[in-house]
Symmetry: C2
Subunit: 214 residues, 2 copies
Amino acid sequence: MKRISESTVGRLSLYLRILREYAGGRTISSEELAGAAGTSAAQVRKDLSLFGTFGKRGLGYSVPELTAELRSILGLEQEWNVALVGAGRIGQALFGYQDFRTQGFYIRAVFDSDPAKVGQRWNGTEVRSDAELEQGLAEEAIDIVIVAVPGGAAQTVVDRVVAAGVRAILNFAPTRIEVPSGVALKNVNMAVELEGLSYALASERANSGRGRAD
Amino acid sequence: MKRISESTVGRLSLYLRILREYAGGRTISSEELAGAAGTSAAQVRKDLSLFGTFGKRGLGYSVPELTAELRSILGLEQEWNVALVGAGRIGQALFGYQDFRTQGFYIRAVFDSDPAKVGQRWNGTEVRSDAELEQGLAEEAIDIVIVAVPGGAAQTVVDRVVAAGVRAILNFAPTRIEVPSGVALKNVNMAVELEGLSYALASERANSGRGRAD
DNA sequence: TAGCTTTTGTGAATGGTTTCACAAGCGGGC
DNA sequence: GCCCGCTTGTGAAACCATTCACAAAAGCTA
């Protein structure tokens, strides 16, 4: 099978959201989809053509069909069991943000090392001790682990979770994490994003010589 | 000035964090830095060489000097005034996550449209009505706005904030946002990340023909 | 059925980023 | 002061992603 780039997968995810909210008829052209996604029509067609030929020439793409195809490609036809490790502020926010439940991601277990948190019930889900991590992952047949622990603890958590057979990790800790090949890892790093903005502001300021028109 | 790619800027941010935690001596080689950053030594050197020549051949990079250079490049020598729009769960978590305060990002104002939230004091910062948004942005000389409102409200908030002169936005709403050129925008989208993991799991499963060794 | 319009799917061209490979420079040892 | 080993800085090469451009298909009309 062909290697698919991360940016392509990210765009597919975006296309799917657009389709879900699309109210323009039963078909959509690559042009329209591109407009809503902020990319080019050629890009849309190339992305989709990597997985098959879903469109009809002269017409565009059937919205329901393409939706189904994208869901299938992205693996969203099944439910995924998610565990959250770290019941701090970020963990709480993620737990509360049930938006992705509608896409088939269910947080089945929450773990924390703080005895004050262990035993709390969050909307029916008990916060379990991180000593029970491996056991809990197995019991709930966890597919994806969200790591929301402090930076210093993240690699240890990831090592345990990977050793327990989990193949997909979403890391919110502000640290670089190592995983063996074959394990999918995504990082969400606020500091990197903010510093990217800082760079943009600072470099624009530096380049704006004698002030700007607006 | 040369155009610098987003991936380069992201790596610089990573290098900086590594340097901050580095305890291996007064100098560091591109090799070491690359190891910690998960990239190649050539990549490190190329990234840095875009901004100047900071290393000493045969020796490597002086840790304090390179730290200072990176801080300067990324615009971290100054403080940035940040406003948070949206005092829901994600907003609360971001506010509580004061980690980036140490990097010079200060949340000076919080806005929400919910009357029940307006007037609350968060650790000394008052939650203000979103009717006061423009006024507050000016009063606090806000440089960066973090948008943590529901998807449907995000574009409106962004439009107002951009009209008020803000040039940098960090968007947590699960929607594609449009900004005029000249405004820096970064998106943090949990759903896209989770679906990326879902894709990785699903496609590996699909490709694993007759089972795997482990 | 033929002709016209629309829009896809895709090879080729372009543009950008990463890796390679090596000359140039620096410090330390003798 | 000179040589040696190490590590940078950087053109060139390789690789990857995006854009271009157009033939091929599909529907519609008459």
